[in-house]
Symmetry: C2
Subunit: 438 residues, 2 copies
């Protein structure tokens, strides 16, 4: 029998059990922090030389120059052409749907004019250049290339630069094909903290970017945290999570496999079911036990379900929604009748999957919305990756001569109240009665 | 004669001079980092007790309980009633204009339905609870209370909680009045890293928030950086900056006083003028020399103008715009004829002030846009504080039975390509041909 925790919200110890279940240690490893700081400092001061040294050392890749580490566009196009027809069609269909969804997120500049002629507004501008980190090895997910590159291109970012480590010089053709489909502009075979440093500070060969997005290992995460401020970064992701709310009407196998589809990511991934129906929970438990042994990633599933998974009996679907708001899950499936009704009660979730046909995996790959979502309760205050992460705003203010009279008097009073005499004077100089006016 | 650097973009050393002028050391003080980590850890584990101890130690304020540190609403209302009529009217007028501008930023949920019945969308939700840090002492700016609280309330945040240190128990009545006008919901007389910790983790008495905004000293900034992830934070502000582009038509006194209005903030504040007209630059220099001695904050002005200020002769207004984009200033005044024409060339600035009547100080207090703006070149990738900082998004996905057929096939191919078998199976279970379907 597969082990997954069984909890009941009516138990007196439920709150503390839930807290324990959700707890996750995000503390940073001091040795990784030190190593990362050192790598970044070398890249910042030595540029290309340091980048070549670290690439030799960590990726066992010897290159004459950083220029030789650029992955030529012809190579991506060749990778795209060599892709099995079905895989290429799937990637292109996913890209098209992702593009269409994200086009709804494009913000437009706006302004309004007041009675005295004063104009106020907000100007929207895309970022100039964005860096996209793509991990090497097993965690090189082409879907991730699409999910990060497409919103940037929809935002109008002129240059999206991909970096990806190629240990031993081995390049991942599906990732390169995804880069071509996703609209990436340039790509470099560099990775690790050294690639993050090159993107943040620039080197003689690699131009600095304005924001770095994309997943990576602990060194990459530490490096992104450190260069934040010099460049923008996306959220640092914690373990992936799914919360499934069922009313008992969804086939139990579907619920079980949806829990698996999160739990298979890694041993820290979290999969939780909330349901008011005890018999249904039992059926899901049996489905888990029956289906788990056939799963190719059964070893990971066993660990993540045992340590981080739970089937929770709740009093009602109302209570399930309240618990969901506390958990603020990355992925929330509402697999019930009238899922929209319950979704109205949800305030905090990265993505909400409605109804039994909406498996999370459809959203992960091709429904259209982004799969880069806030983890570890950060959906309380943050959003899926989107076009808005690649556009920024500038306030626009044009005060008319008449406006300067009324606003000037207000500003003068407030500035004097804060002891900022030059602020007050700057407003007063624009007053018509002012004798300091030139 | 007042000392301010004079540069010329035609000089061969200009690029490196400019780089030196803009350089600013944002590195963190290790002793502050350690002290802050220690304070946060005590507040996290000991709650109220630690909060009371630190308040006693750092603010010389003895309180029986944390409850006794709450500043009662009756006290704010009394502060508001006691405010001089002119000051109250100015604060209320500013608040009304700030509210009206920010209402344009409210995002709305949206969704669309595809031909097969699949629904995709984005749900907008305000944050539940926001903490607003307001410094004590001289840097307690009531305008800052309005600029931080109003966007949160416009976003629909139910509870905005203000914390402000009251050294020796002295409360600032203008700050309390601004809290009343700005719509703050609760206020506590606590400050420093301990207040940030209380807001982030919660204590027995102080409820945890979802995001912390507002300026503070080095300890507050360090604490905000450390609790980021547990809660959201706004940007950590660097020194304030103004860049003024003149064509020579603005009265020289106005340009000089606008430079002062930034330079008076503190000794690290930066004020730079770009102009193609050498005679005008000379006139601004003379205005600086003439006006500076009368300024109440002349001592600060002398230091910030000498170390961080510059009058820069450029070849053209086009070049001025290009340099402005490199600097990505917090505040940009375009004090020229046809300022809109030049604003079109600007890609990176926190706020753009158009035309000679738009002194930055009008925007600081009452024009309507926010005065919390990206500093230190971060306008390349970030935005003014706004309603969007207090709303977040959740993706909505409802795949129809028909949609699950087409999307399921795509997801299955991509999931197998990434070696994620349970992801593939979750999609495949929803296919009508699937024999695993219940």
């Amino acid at each position: 029998m597969s082990s997954i925790q069984r909890l009941d919200s009516a138990d007196p110890g439920f709150r503390s059990d839930l807290r324990r279940l959700l707890a996750y240690d995000a503390s940073q490893d001091e040795s990784i922090e030190r190593a990362t700081a050192d790598i970044l400092e070398h890249v910042r001061t030595e540029g290309d030389t340091a980048l070549l040294n670290y690439t030799r050392r960590f990726d066992r890749l010897e290159a004459e120059s950083v220029a030789a580490l650029e992955i030529d566009r012809s190579e991506w196009l060749a990778a795209l052409d060599a892709l099995p027809r079905e895989q290429r069609a799937a990637l292109e269909a996913a890209a098209e749907r992702i593009r269409r969804y994200h086009e709804h997120q494009v913000a437009q500049s706006w302004s309004y004019t007041e009675a005295d002629g004063t104009v106020l507004g907000q100007k929207i501008t895309p970022l100039d250049r964005v860096g996209l980190y793509v991990p090497g090895g097993k965690a090189a997910y082409p879907s991730s290339v699409l999910m990060n590159a497409i919103p940037a291109k929809v935002a109008g970012v002129p240059e999206v630069v991909m970096v990806t480590p190629t240990p031993g010089g081995v390049r991942n053709p599906i990732v390169l094909a995804a880069a071509a489909i996703g609209g990436v502009d340039r790509a470099w075979a560099i990775g690790g903290a050294q690639a993050v440093g090159a993107l943040a500070y620039g080197t003689q060969t690699v131009a600095p970017v304005d924001k770095i997005v994309g997943p990576g290992n602990a060194y990459v995460a530490a490096a992104k945290r450190r260069v934040f401020g010099t460049v923008g970064i996306d959220m640092i992701a914690g373990p992936s999570e799914i919360l499934v709310i069922c009313d008992g009407s969804t086939p139990a196998d579907w619920a079980a496999i949806d829990l698996f589809s999160q739990a298979e990511h890694d041993e820290m991934a979290q999969a939780i079911l909330l349901c008011p129906d005890a018999a249904y929970i039992e059926a899901v438990q049996q489905a888990i036990d029956r289906l788990l042994p056939q799963q190719p990633r059964a070893d990971i599933l066993r660990v993540s379900l045992a340590n981080r998974g739970a089937l929770i009996k709740v009093r009602s679907l109302e209570e399930a929604c309240d618990i969901a708001n506390e958990i603020a899950p990355e992925h929330l499936e509402i697999s019930t009748a009238e899922p929209e009704h319950w979704a109205e009660r949800i305030r905090h979730a990265g993505a909400i999957f409605l109804g039994p046909y909406t498996s999370e995996s459809l959203g992960d790959y091709c429904a259209g919305p982004n799969h880069v979502l806030p983890t570890a309760r950060t959906a309380r205050f943050s959003s899926p990756l989107g076009v808005y992460d690649f556009q920024k705003r500038s306030s626009l203010i044009k005060v008319s001569q008449a406006g300067a009279q009324s606003l000037g008097r207000i500003a003068s009073v407030l500035a004097h109240g804060e002891g900022l005499a030059a602020h007050a004077a700057a407003a007063e100089y624009r007053l018509e009665s002012s004798d300091t006016q030139a």
